[in-house]
Every structure is written in structure tokens, then in C-alpha cells.
Amino acid sequence: MATTAVLTAKGRDEYQAAAQAGTIVGKVLGWGTNPKAATAAASDVALFTEAAEARVTGTAAVVTTTTTNDTYQVTGTITSGSAQTIAEVAITDSTTKPFSTTWSTAPTTTSGTSGTSAGSYTPANSTYIQDASGEVMEVTAGTGTTSLTVVRGANGSTAVTSAASNEITQGAIPGASVTGGNLLMHATFTGLALNNGDSIAFTCQIKLT
């Protein structure tokens, strides 16, 4: 896993929309465990494996890094409710978590186009899911069932061999919107070992050129 932080493609989309509307982009923080040690990428649409804790509405501000007011900053603290290792954080625009389940039988290798989910896939067809492996897939058939047909390597992601029990989470690509599924910034890092009651105070800064 590479340690990195990215403004996602959806984040860029939201920035443009917010600038046009004169509003602010998201300031909600969520974290996850990233058990597959995937690397955050601009193509991501959700946390790789979101942890159980509720998302936190952070504090947004425009601050100065190099030139006046050139940086968008979100700060917030999340407290762990159990012993776990946290290895990713994201900025979204909603405290609601999107649809998520796991593969019972994942699509095979990097080209398989069918898989079986553990829970019934409630979003509509032609929606997108983030696999814990780092790949984004488009679900083209199977809504309301557990038998899903997918297009691999969607939203500019790279197809990666998945596995049963990998988390799959719905998320929005640019031009679309999913309640709880609009991922604006995503960062992966070496895992931080927490016990129940430990917290992480995050400061996330985004500076566009």
C-alpha cells in the first residue's frame, strides 16, 4: 500500500459545482480499516472498508498555505468504539453511510463480470461500487438480488483480483450523486492501532493549483 492522499474525480466535480453555486464542498469525515492495503486513487468512489463508527461533521475553513486563502481545510475527530487499526480517511458531504455489503463470491480474476453479494443489492442498476481491493465496478444488472453483473475497472480504476468477503460500497462518479456516497478526498496511510476510546484528530488540506 502506498501512503497517499488524493482529491477524487468526484471531488473535483464537487469543487466546480460549489464554486458555481457559491457554496462549500463537503466537510464530513469518515474513516476505515483498509484491510487489503489498497492505495487511494482519484478514481475511488468510497472508503475501501468503512469502520463502524459514525461519520463526523468536521470544521471547514479556507486557510493560507502559500498565497492568501489557497487551501481548503477540514478538521475533525473520530473516536474508536473498539480495538482496531485505522488506515484510511475520507471527506464526504453526508453523515449517512451508503449501501455496503460484501462479496460471497467475487468476480473472478480481473476480467470476471459476475459475482454474488452477501446482501441483496438495493441500489439501481448502472450504479458504481468500490471494492476493498481498490477497484471500482459498475453494476449493470442484478438490482434487488444478490447476483450481480459488473463492468470491471470503472471510473478509470484498474481491475484487481477481488475476493470473497471484500467489502463493496456504493459511491458516485462525477456527474452523479449518492447520499453518503460522494467521496471528495481519500487518503490511505500506515495503520494506526487504536483501542476503545482512542481518537484521531484529522486535519485534511486540499490546495488546487
Binding site: 501512503t3 462518479i173 500506515t190
Partner: protein, 66 residues
């Protein structure tokens, strides 16, 4: 349309681990991507390893499990 976006931007995530007993581990920047070539090089050569050391130190001093 495939989105291979990676517009030029800088993102930095800093973190402080606050143990349940009040102990604070200030980790500084733990994840980053820089537009500036020099800052990117600095992160790769120094910043990343510094972050790794700080994270390891914080993980070596956990709070008592409740």
C-alpha cells in the same frame, strides 16, 4: 466516460492520536500528494519515513484496552 483525473493539486492529511488516557501522539503529516516537484521529492525522501517512524512510535504506546 472514464475518469482518469488527477488534476494538479496538493493534499495533505495530518493526524494526532489521542489515547483514551489523554496521551497525545502528534504524527504530523501522515499522507500526502504534492504538486510541487520539490515538495514531492521531500515527502518521498524524508516526510514519508518520518511519518512511518511517528506512527510506529504511537502504535508502540497504546492505551490500556477497556
Amino acid at each position: 466516460m472514464a475518469e482518469t483525473s488527477n488534476v494538479k493539486h496538493t493534499v495533505e492529511v495530518s493526524a494526532k492520536v489521542i489515547r483514551a488516557d489523554g496521551t497525545v501522539h502528534d504524527l504530523g503529516v501522515i499522507a500526502a500528494q504534492h504538486k510541487s516537484v520539490l515538495k514531492r521529492l521531500h515527502w518521498r525522501l524524508f516526510g514519508h519515513s518520518q511519518a512511518q517512524r511517528r506512527i510506529a512510535a504511537a502504535n508502540a504506546h497504546p492505551s490500556v484496552a477497556r
